[in-house]
Every structure is written in structure tokens, then in C-alpha cells.
Subunit: 465 residues, 4 copies
């Protein structure tokens, strides 16, 4: 018989039971469920709602159940629907009818909300820590490569010379914002819902502040209907995760490009690649491809959650049970993706000579030729046109800008002097971009320094959570 079955004249259909049951995935919340129940029972005893002795029996019973689950001896029962009912049923088996007092002054609606909040607080913290790890790898590799010349691209066309370190730091800062989003999301997850009951609060003299303190929550939901109907903290997390994956998908695309024979900028360690069942020569960038591929899945899970919540009347509806599987999937995906990325970046072989060679054969110094003329007082738009024509001339004559003689330069514009030949050397072009945030080594080093300060602040934030 179901724990809620009093009013029913008939048994649930077996397929319905399977369809409704969430124990297959929500058992992941066992620890939070037990710790939450222990805090609840401590409070209702402190408030005189149940006897202290009963509370102690329940608390010990729950502790035993925790041990059973962690030892793998607990038998989960699909008929008991979910983790809450599984644990409560086992509790009553173990300690007798007194176990039935645990659910005093609460409902599954606020209980599942509590468990999910507790679980997500831990997971957000874990994810943030993995983001920091990857930021560290990126900034360390960047520091080693502030002088490593590489073409900067727009539209996948070589545009201007940068350093590989400069390029990596772009991802560092994207991850920095991802980390900040996780902090903001954590603040809105750090709200204690228990005490909302089914939706309306309770007539028992409970002490919600005590439970919040016991479980380390910073604040309470101030409206009980909101507490049981809110899933926006999950949406916010999924959106932050989607953005993070979007960033990793961009880096993945680049790693795949860079690993191609055509680019040849990096070679991943064998440990991060796989081979082909038919082509013996193949070495594939599977990790990068899978991260890029799974990005679509994370977006889909965000969309699923939003769509599921759309147009639902308050307070709780069974539709909301659909929040968990996808949340768990996203958490697993971003954690393993971040871990693999840290390892992959740390072991990546950077082929600096290939990167530098790619710049030799191109026109990525054209902006510098134009800026040279600007500095002589010619309006930028005119310089742009002059250089554009020079490039066209070079293409038609199979030359590069460095192949032109000073005489040819003077033919193009009388403003050119001998130093033009120095100015358009690609290394000089890169070094000249000293503006804050720019490609010059000292600018990149400054941005690495700044970034490290930000990582420190992030660590301070989490150390207190």
C-alpha cells in the first residue's frame, strides 16, 4: 500500500507506477535527503512538536540508513516512488511507527526542494572549482607563450599577428565570467525552502531559521508557494552551464582546427585521442569533438526545463519532476568536460614553428602598414584604400608586403621611409599592440596578472561557502 493510499479504492497501474517513479534517478539525493531530515527532526524536537526521545530514535535510524546506502546494501523499491518515500519506508521498518513522526510539519514538495537546493549548492561549488583549475592551466600555458607568434583570425581569415598566449587568455576571461555567473547562481540557490509544506506553510510552531542555520543556508524563501513552485535557480544554473559549454565548444572547434593537417598548430597527447576502426593512420580529437557535440545536449536540456515550466499554474505540478534527470545530466557533462580540458590543455604539444610559419605567407601586417600612414597624418580611410590596392597588387604579382622594396613603397606613397620595412615585420606588429588588453607581450602579461587577482577573489568567495 502506498504511504498516501488512504483515499484510494484501487491500486495504481503497474506501468503508471514505472512512469511516475523517480527513484531511478533521484536516489542520487540520498545524502541530502537524510541530512535534511535530520535537521528537520532536530528542529521539531527542539520546538516540542515531537519528543526528544522519538527524535533521537529517528535520527539514529536515518544515520543507519545512510550507512546502508553507502555500503550498497539498501534495496531501492520502485513502488515507493522516490528517494523520500524509500527512506521513510525503511525508517518505519527499522524504528517502527515512531518513524511516521518524521514527516510532521513538512511535505514532499518542500522536502524535494530542500534536497535539490542542498545538492546544487555542492555541485555549483564543485563546478566553480573545476573552472578555476582550467583557468589556471590556461594562464600558465599563456604565460609560456606570450612571445609565440600566431595568426589572429576573423572570419577564419588570418587578420593580424598575435601571440598564442594572447589567444588563450581570451578563453581565460570567458571562463572568468562563467565563474562569476556560478557565484551569482549560488546566491539564489542558497535559499532554504523547508517549512513551506505542500504549499501553504504549516500550523506547527516550526523554526525555519534554525533549520537554515543547521544546514548552512544564507537565507529563507519568504513565501511558501514560491518555495515549492520555484525552479528558476535550476534554469539559471542550466543557462550558466550552457554558456560555459558554448565557450568550451568554441575552444573545441579551434583545437580541432589546430590539430588538422592544414593548420598543424598543436598536437594533442595520445592519451586524449583515439583511432579509427578502418584507417590505421587516424588520430582523432575525440574529446574536443564530444565536448562540442555535448554542447547541443546541454542547450537542449536548458530548453527542456524552460519549456516544461512554461505556463504551469502554481504551486506544484508533477511536470516539475522532470527537472532532475536533465539537471544531473548537465552537471555530469560539464564536470567531466572541464576535467578533461584541464588535462588536455596541460599536455598539449604547441607547434610554435608552424604557427609562426603561417604568418610568413600572408597579409596580416596590412593594418600596420595602414597605421604607419595614419601616423604620418593621412586620414585612416585613405590609408585603408591605399593598402587595399597594394594588397591587390601583391596578390596579382604573387608577392607579400615584406617583398616590396623601399622604392616600391615610395611609389605607393611618398610618406614611406626606411622604417616601414621594420614596422611590417610580423613580430614587430604583434609587439606594437601595447594598448591595454592588446597582443604585445607586456600587455598580455599584465592581463595574466589581472586574471590571477580575479582568481584569488574567486577563491575567497568560495572558501566561505
Amino acid at each position: 500500500m502506498k504511504l498516501w493510499g488512504g483515499r484510494f479504492a484501487k491500486e495504481t497501474d503497474a506501468l503508471v507506477e514505472k512512469f511516475n517513479s523517480s527513484i531511478g534517478f533521484d536516489k542520487r539525493l540520498y545524502k541530502q535527503d537524510i541530512r535534511g531530515s535530520q535537521a528537520h527532526v532536530k528542529m521539531i524536537a527542539a520546538q516540542g512538536i515531537i519528543d526528544l526521545q522519538d527524535a533521537q530514535v529517528i535520527d539514529e535510524g536515518l544515520e543507519d540508513i545512510l550507512a546502508e546506502i553507502e555500503a550498497g546494501t539498501f534495496v531501492f523499491d520502485i513502488k515507493a516512488e522516490d528517494i523520500h518515500m524509500n527512506i521513510e519506508k525503511r525508517l518505519i521498518e527499522k524504528v517502527g511507527p515512531v518513524g511516521g513522526k518524521l514527516h510532521t510539519g513538512r511535505s514532499r514538495n518542500d522536502q524535494v526542494a530542500l534536497d535539490t537546493h542542498m545538492y546544487m549548492k555542492e555541485e555549483i561549488k564543485d563546478v566553480a572549482s573545476l573552472v578555476l583549475d582550467l583557468q589556471k592551466e590556461l594562464s600558465e600555458l599563456a604565460e609560456m607563450h606570450v612571445e609565440t607568434l600566431m595568426p589572429g583570425y576573423t572570419h577564419l581569415q588570418r587578420a593580424q599577428p598575435i601571440s598564442f598566449g594572447h589567444h588563450l587568455m581570451a578563453y581565460f576571461y570567458k571562463l572568468q565570467r562563467d565563474g562569476e555567473r556560478l557565484q551569482d547562481c549560488f546566491k539564489r540557490t542558497d535559499l532554504m525552502p523547508l517549512g513551506a509544506g505542500a504549499l501553504a506553510g504549516t500550523s506547527f510552531p516550526i523554526d525555519r531559521e534554525m533549520v537554515a542555520k543547521e544546514l548552512g543556508f544564507a537565507a529563507l524563501y519568504e513565501n511558501s508557494i514560491d518555495a515549492v513552485s520555484d525552479r528558476d535557480y535550476i534554469v539559471e544554473f542550466l543557462a550558466a552551464a550552457s554558456t560555459l559549454m558554448m565557450h568550451l565548444s568554441r575552444l573545441s572547434e579551434e583545437i580541432i582546427l589546430w590539430s588538422s593537417a592544414e593548420f598543424g598548430f598543436v598536437e594533442l597527447d595520445d592519451a586524449y585521442c583515439t583511432g579509427s576502426s578502418i584507417m590505421p593512420q587516424k588520430k582523432n580529437q575525440d574529446v574536443a569533438e564530444l565536448v562540442r557535440g555535448k554542447t547541443g545536449g546541454v542547450f537542449g536540456d536548458l530548453m527542456a526545463m524552460l519549456t516544461t515550466l512554461k505556463g504551469l499554474p502554481l504551486a506544484y505540478n508533477k511536470d516539475m519532476q522532470e527537472d532532475k534527470e536533465r539537471l544531473f545530466n548537465v552537471i555530469d557533462t560539464i564536470k567531466i568536460s572541464l576535467k578533461l580540458y584541464s588535462g588536455m590543455i596541460a599536455t598539449m604539444n604547441v607547434k610554435a614553428d608552424h604557427m609562426a610559419a603561417a604568418l610568413e605567407n600572408d597579409f596580416s601586417n596590412a593594418t600596420d602598414m595602414a597605421d604607419y600612414l595614419v601616423k604620418k597624418g593621412i586620414p585612416f580611410r585613405e590609408c585603408h584604400a591605399i593598402v587595399g590596392k597594394t594588397v591587390l597588387y601583391c596578390i596579382q604579382n604573387d608577392k607579400r608586403l615584406v617583398d616590396l622594396s623601399l622604392a616600391e613603397y615610395k611609389d605607393i606613397s611618398s610618406e614611406f621611409a626606411e622604417d616601414i620595412l621594420e614596422v611590417i615585420k610580423v613580430r614587430n606588429c604583434m609587439k606594437a599592440r601595447k594598448s591595454r588588453g592588446g597582443a604585445a607581450p607586456e600587455a598580455v602579461l599584465f592581463s595574466i596578472e589581472k586574471g590571477r587577482g580575479m582568481m584569488k577573489e574567486t577563491e575567497v568567495f568560495w572558501s566561505s561557502k
Copy 2:
């Protein structure tokens, strides 16, 4: 050592192995993989590519493996990555190096494409059959309720009187189109990819037509790169499934509304409901809510698949491995949803008196009052205005249209005669809508008849697949 490991100097990272491995979900394809391999080996033997004797050894080995898997004694190995490698590895264990001849003239890329096509053909057929089952339940219930008055709604406002049977048939026809979409999708799934190799075809003298015939395929992929890079049949199925779920979500919304105390139009059987952990009186429409909730998930999985494929260069990329888990999830979801719906509809208690009562207290006969005047020759727009004012007058005086006397009607317009009092009786309003597809009982019965003809055609289509 990996089957593809020849070129590698280093082992795969353990976490990478876990990340890459698809055996956790693609083992579902074991039967298709084995049947596909058997057809392949039969063909390469027939073509003289391998010995007939070797082929027989391999075929028997595969048959044994099938038995092992179905008996539950097969040990799946995460290190062997996927179902294909798991089976091939076991084959070589069982029959020795000759097992290594199975993979002659094919690649995992065309093999996984073949397995998925075979699997989906079966599943699409199954889903189509479940759609038919639900259509049957709906049309049978509709036939019983062609005289059961019910308010038809627009904007969730009572609009015009219809019958419950008429309303149900709207869903019948939506499902009819869903079934047709499944047929169309089946046609594009019924293409045989094997022989595409990794991407370029093969230099072995294979006979793709023979494999297609052996496995019951209607046609072949005519371009090998297309064959291994195509996933549009999966997208098409997910889109058809999304539309089907969208339809079920609308019916779910209505069942939830109808089951509310406020509507009270139907009561679901206890077997399709659950109770509350705290509120003993509750009887919740969980199945309908879950179907509505899972609709978001199916949409998300469609979006995930599309997004994953976007911008992928040809031919195969590892991103495409992400197709399976979500496909399997969608198939499971729609199959259980359809099954539960058939049972839920069949056992639903229709409260015809509540439905009829809902019409008594409203203005859903106003259109008929306007049409009455139109039939007297007054332009529709003027009639609309006259009736609009009459309704406002009624609301302000707490009356309904049937409460007005003939004298009052004549005051409104001299065109009214005694028959107006008959015309605006809600049952007469419903019965008057005899236009094809309309609410009148004979029109609904005609549409049920039409629908049954369509179901017959559907059955004929599938009987030959």
C-alpha cells in the same frame, strides 16, 4: 590494447575512455549489429571476398554471441568503447583470428549507420502501431458521445455548444497526421548505408543490393559520404515525435482541466492517479502532468540533435555519437506515453451531466442568435452588434439568452419570431452544425467513418513493412 591502437605510442587516459565510450547506451543495438554483420558476412562470402567456411564460422559465432547477450551472460567492456567493438572482440575470442575478417570492406561509420537505421525502422513501426491504438480508443469513445453536450472553448472561454465526441475526434485527426508523418519518416529511414566504408566506399567487390535485400531495405544510399554523415532521418523522427508529444500535451492540459473541481468533466480511474504525501484528500492526474512535462524534454532532445549537427564538416565527426542517447530517450518516452494514454482514455469516467450543466449558465448560443438574424437577411456584422448588446444587457441584468421572453426578443429586433426560443436551445445549436466536419451528431459520425477508413489505409501501409 585497442583494436585500432597500432599507430598509438601511449594508452588512452581512463577518464577519456569513459567519456568516449558509448557501450553504456548503444548496447541496445546488439541485435541489429549482429543481424547486420551476418548479412555482411554472407555477402562478402558470396562475392568471394572471404571463404565460405570462414563466413560460416563467423556467422555461427555471431549467433552464439546473440544468445549470450539475450541470456544476460555477455560481459560488456567499457574499454571496447561500443557495441560493435564489444561484439567483434568477443567474436575473435570465440572463433580466433578468423573473426578479424568480419570487418573486411566496412567501417564502424557505416556499421553504426546500418544498426541505427535497422533499429529505427522497427521502432517507428512500433510507435505507429501505438498511435493507431490510441486513435481507436478515441474514435470508440467519440462514437459513444456524439450526443453528449459539452461547451466548445476558444481562449478557454465557452464559445459554442459541441459534443464530447466531436471534441475527441479533433485529437483523432491530429494523431492521424502524426501517423502519416511516421510513414514518411520511415521511407527516408529505409535506406541502406552499408558499403559506404569510412566515407569513400571500398575497393572490395561488394554487393550492396544483396545486403539491402537480405535486411529488407527498400533502397540504398547513393553516395557514401552522405551515408555516413546523414542523421536527418533522426532529426525528422524527433520532429515527428515532438509534434506528437505537442498534441498529447494539449490533451493532457485538457484532462487536467477537466479533472479539476472547477470543471469536473471527467474523472480518471484510480489506477491512473496518485495521492499526496501530506494532503490525504488529493487525487492527482500524474500521468497527464508527466506527459505534458516530458513534452519539454522531447523538444529539448530535438533541439539538441539539430544543434549538435549544425556546422559539422563532412563526413563523420565524433559529435554525432550524441545522437543515440537522446533518440532512445524520446522513443521510450513516446511509447510509454501512448500506451498510458490508451489505457487512461479507455477507463476514463465521463461526467456528461457536468458538461451539459456547464452550458446552461452561459452565452454559447449567441452565435446562433446572430445567425438567426442573418438568415432573415440582415448583414452578419449588424447581427453581431445586435447580439453583442443583448449579451451585455443580459450580463448587467443577470439573465441568459433563454431567459428572455419573445417580447424582449421582438424589442431587440422585429425579425425575431417564436422559433428563436427553439433555435437557441443549446442542444439544437449543436445539432444545427451539420456542415462537414461540424458538431452535429451526423457530421461527427461521418467523420468517425472517414477516420476509420484512414486507419485501414494505415494498417495496409505497415502490413507490408
Copy 3:
């Protein structure tokens, strides 16, 4: 000739021109573009990069152009592609070649990023202010209805008695979090990108801090590649907007339900409804329906943005031009939705008698009957079963809990005393839920007070922006 045309031997195809052009929608950024250019020109003059006199000519030219645009006399040209080129072209027309100096030390890539950041800062602030307005309406209406009884629902089944004020405050708090998300998103939008150039920074001795200060930015992008490739602040805004719309869609669903004849809890003002072209009696909740409908569109625009960014290599790609139209659409949608909601809530007619009547005929006091027994020392699970059976008995005998006599109660359990008849009166049930955040009037008033404190803090935050 294009401003960038120097290198090209051939004109752009006319259809390509139309496809590429963004002037049709990005002209909305004209003010930001001009103010940003003025700050830039002031800085490059201050840094000695161009003459002060040239700078003044340019500044005045830009001011004139602003006036032309606001007067509607400016002629936008599709051939000039975008707002930046339209303005620069006009500037050169007006002030001559010196206008060509404006683009010194910057690129369209950082320019468009600057414009969008400036634009979004204003819009986020506006949206936040509209959220506050709606919170005010909700809390004022809530305060008037802390004693207005209404059924609280779960699964759209009447669950426990609450007040209408209590229900409204659930939305207040959802909006509170929406407002906080806007603040957090603002922080990450308040970063100054100019100076990033095309992607690598610039060799001109620019002063990015000066531009930031001039334009009121709190911080700078610290990496130039990040500055031009970042769109995550747009994603974050779209996610916050999606969550906000999700909340409004839930309220919309409820308003539509409440306005139905079946519920009859509220009546919207005629000014917020429309009629039917055929059914003269209809009064439709179009605003609520459209807001619910447009929610899907906002989700779709979020998905579009994420999907567009997925897998893009750094730095700028033309794909990113797709950010604006959808962003503008979302901003317009949420602003008008919020404005209409404030008006609709303020003028809504609450039918308190219908709400109260809905509670009379139900079992929403069953939890209180169970809790009564719990307070006598019976474990909750046993009480739940006792009450469940009582409800079943009542349903089968067409009774409600208040219809049972004390004798009948005593038959059910000897623990019942006379006060049970008081305890289960629905008003008393509601009043008894005094737990923090609960349904009792004093608890709701406390939560309104708390909420007002939060609104104050929000106002303080924005007053300094």
C-alpha cells in the same frame, strides 16, 4: 565604392548586399554609436593621435548627424551596410576627408561591441524598473487581500486554503529574483570593449580608461580577442528574460484559468480584453494569452543565440551579426509585457466571493484534520491514512468534512474533541499557517514588509547606475 573596397576587383552582388546589410535593424543603435564615437575622438585627440581641431570638427559633425537622425531627415543607405558605416559616410560627406580620421585606432568589431554594451546597459535598467513597477502592483494588491480566502492548488487540484494575497506574493518573489538576475547581468555588461581593434588591440597610444570613464563604464575588457568575440552578456540577458517570461507565462495561465466561467475568480477590465469576430458574447484574455504565447518566442531567441555562437572560432565571425534582431525583439517583448501586466493587475476585478465559495465544497482542510491528530501524538503517517479513509467515506456519501458530526469524528478516532469542528473551518485553516512564509495574514504581511525592503535595495542599486 565600399569604404573597405580597396582590395576588391569586383562589386558585391546586390542580393548579397541585402543579405549582409544590418542597417535595417542596427540603426536603433545610432545614439550609442555617436556618443561612443565622440568619446573615442575626444580620447585620441587628448592622446595626441589626431589634432584637437580635427577632433572638434568631427565631434560637431557627429552632433549634427545625431540631430538629423532624430529629426528623421537622415537617409539610411543599405549599401553602407550598417549604422557605423552610414554615420561615418555621412560624416565624411559633411566634414570632408578629415572625417576619415575618426576610425583611427579602432575597428567595427570593437565599435559594434561598444554600441551594444551601451545600449544594453540602458535597456537592462529600463526592464529592471518595469519589474519593480509590477512588484509594486502585486504587493499592493496582495496587501488588500491577506484575508481573501482562496483555494491553494497543487496538480490543479484544490489542496489547502490560502489567501489571494499570499498567492500573489509568490509572483512578487519570483520577480524579485528576476530583478536580481538583471543586476548581475548588468555587472557583466558594464565592461568597456573599445580599444580591442579588430581583435588584437592597437599600436596607437590610446587611453581606454579615459573612454570608459567618459562613457560611464565600471571596468574594461582585459583581453582584446575576448572583447570582440564575447556575446555571453547577451546570452545571459536572454536567459534572464526567458526566466522572467516563464514566470509571466505562469501568471498568465492562472489569469486565463481564473477568468474562465468555471473558476470565475477574477474579471479583467474591458480595456485588457478583446472580442470575437463571430461570437458576440466572447470576452477574451488576449493580453495574458499573448504573453504566454510570446514566451515560446523568447525561449526560441535564447536558443537561437546560443546555437549561433556554438563552435565559432575566435575572434569575430559574421554569424555574430545575428545577435541583434533577436535581442531587440526580446527587449521589446518583455518591456511591453511588463507594462501591460502592471496595468492589468492594477485594474483587475477580484471576485472574492467566488474564491471563497470554491473552498466550501472541497476537502482542502484535510491536512488540518490530520495535523490535529498529530498534535495528539499519533504519528503523521497513521493520521494521513485515517484522514484518507475519512475522505473516501465522505466522497462515497456525498459529504464534506464539516458535515460530519462530533460523534462521527469520535468514531473515526477517540482523540477527536469538540475543537475539531473549529479547526477544520477553512478560514481557521488558513489563519493557522503562521510559519514564516506561510498563508496566515500576519505571515503574509511580514513577507510583504520584507519584500518592500528588498525593493528599496533594488532602487538603491539602480540609482547609482
Copy 4:
């Protein structure tokens, strides 16, 4: 006063009016609206529902209005909400109260459904024709390049030698399925909804078959509630369009890669590229990038539509008005994308020497070396391992397979004979893949022939629509 205003005591709020109004976008349907009205009026006259003379007056009035709209002299009025009301209002202005008879026996709900069906039938046909155009360009270019060597890729790693023609035909066949999906979608769009009225049909003796025949529809909706609540034909079209854009996004990605300096496989005509505002040398593949970028938008519009429909009760809800803007956007996007692609492909400069050179420096002939051994009787798995080790040896010694001497080959395996040196020449590898659908020139020519047959069938299908 609104045409539906009779029942209302108060004017609509001005902002509500703006929010509700669809005339801004649905005016696109003017022709369908008028042609549909003319067919309707002809039928109701033929059925004796209105006078023939009135019908003629109305018909002529509508024809005049059509001329006004096409001449640009018609003044659209936001207060008249939508295209239907705008035209009806103008009709009454022109022909007097008799114009009010037009709306007899129909409603805006079935009218807008009719207009949209008519509009979409034309658009689907147009899109299908543009798909055919692109297929023609692809197959013609493919035919010219069946001997043009190019590396085939998996995981963006060079895998096996193919021809450029072979590669292009992969897209041809993807488009072929897209075209078939459009045909199937057309069939489900070709259903006539008029006569459904608001939702329940009508009591007027209308003849729906006559209207269907008049307007060229193949079939009728058989249930009036379905007719006004159905939007699945729009979802189906958006899904087909998403798949088509997904295919174009893949081709776009490849064109962008191929145009990069690193690949250098093609050069787009100047007419399909644009330049940079700062970097004079840049030539950007904007069209390909925009098509790839807009793909995200089309996916988002599909998601928007599905999400908007999810959970809507029957029959019509205002949410459904959200179908049009996004549908129109998608139609415009795919039409311009297809047109530009046809032009871009037709003018693309193929750099066959670069493609061939890419194969010289790689191991894409490794499969052929393995297959050589297989043909000597060694199981494929062993051959795979042998070749894998050979590749590793080559990489470590900076050699390619063609650099190895026969002696070295014999050292690797005694099975190698002199012909191995011929077998592994990349051109021979490509030519050897004669399996149906494979890379060999004759196989590609066969597939082009097959494809042309399919195009013929497609043309036949559409010629009768």
C-alpha cells in the same frame, strides 16, 4: 468601434491594441485573404445563403481592394487589428452594409487558417524549386570534378582520397531528402479548413467541397475543432526548414574552411565576399557565415513554435497568433539562403591543385595498404595493426607510405609485391572505390545519373500542384 465591440462597455487600452494587432506582419497574406473571401462568397451565393447580386458587389469590392493594396494606396489601420478586419472594414466602406454579409458562415479562426494554408502552399512550392536549382548547380559542378582529387575527412583529419565531385554529391542527396520532406509537408498543408467557423462548424448549408475545388485544395479537414486548432503543418515545415538549414550550415562550414589560407581549396567570387573596415587585405566569406549563423535562428523559430503550442487547450487561443512572424522569417531566410548558394556555387573557383597537393603529404592511402594485405588473406584486424605500426614508423622518421621502398614493404610483411607501389598512389586509391555510391569516377557518375532521375520525379510532382 471594433467590429466585435457590441458586448464591451469600454474601449481597448491603446498599448493593448498595439500588442494585439497583427496587421504589421499579417498584411503579407492580403492576396490569400481576398482570393479566399471571393471563393467563400461565390459558394454562399451558389448555396443561396446570400443573394447572387450581393455576392457580385462583394466580389468586385474585394477585387478593387486587391488593386488598392497592390498599388500601395491601401491604408492599413492598426486599430482594425489584422488583415481580415482591415479588408472587411474597407469593403464595408466601399460597398456599404452589404459588405457585412461576407462574413456569413465563417469566422476569423477558419479564415486565418485558410489564408495561411494557401500562403504556405505557394511558399513550399517556391522553396522546393530553389532546392532543385541548387541541386542542379551541385550536380553540374560535381560532374566537372569527378576526377578532381581531394582528401576526404573524418574528424577533420584527412582520411581517404575522394574527388571533389564525390564530396559535392553528398550535399546533393541531403538536399534531395529535404525536397522530399517539402513534398510530404505540402500534402499535409493541402487541407481546406474553411467552414470550421469559430470551432464547431456552422448551421448555414455551406458547401466546403466547392470552396476546396475553387481554391485548388486536395482535401478537407474532417473535424472543425481540429481545423482551427491545427498548426502542425507549420511545425512540420519549420522542422523541414531547420533540417535544410542544418545541411546548408554544414556546407557553409566547409566553404569557410576551404576558403581559409590553411586549406586554400576554393576561392569565392568577389561578388559573394566582403572586406574589413580596418584590415585592408581581408576577404571574408560573409554569405557562408551568415547562412551558418541564421541556422541558429531557424532552429530557434521551430522551438518557439513548438513551445508556444505546448499544452494549449482546444480550440483557438490567442497564443497561436505567434505562428506568423516566425514562419515568415524562416521562409525569407531559407529562400534568400538558397538563392545565394546557387549563385555562390556557380561562381566558385575550385583550386584543384591545392586539393591534390593536400593528399601528397599524408597517410590517406593507409586503408588501401591494409586492404592490400586483406586481399592476400590476412584477417582485417591484423592488417590494421600492421599498417598502424608502419604509419607510426613513418611519422617518427618523417616519411610517407610512398617513400618506402619495396624492400621496406617486404620487411613489414612478406605478402607485399611490387604492385603495392601502384596501389597506394592516391589517384589509384580513389579510382579503386568502385562500390555503389563510392568515390571512383564511374561510381560518382552513376550517382549523378540517379540523382538526375530523382530531380525529374520531383519536377513531375510539382508540375501538378
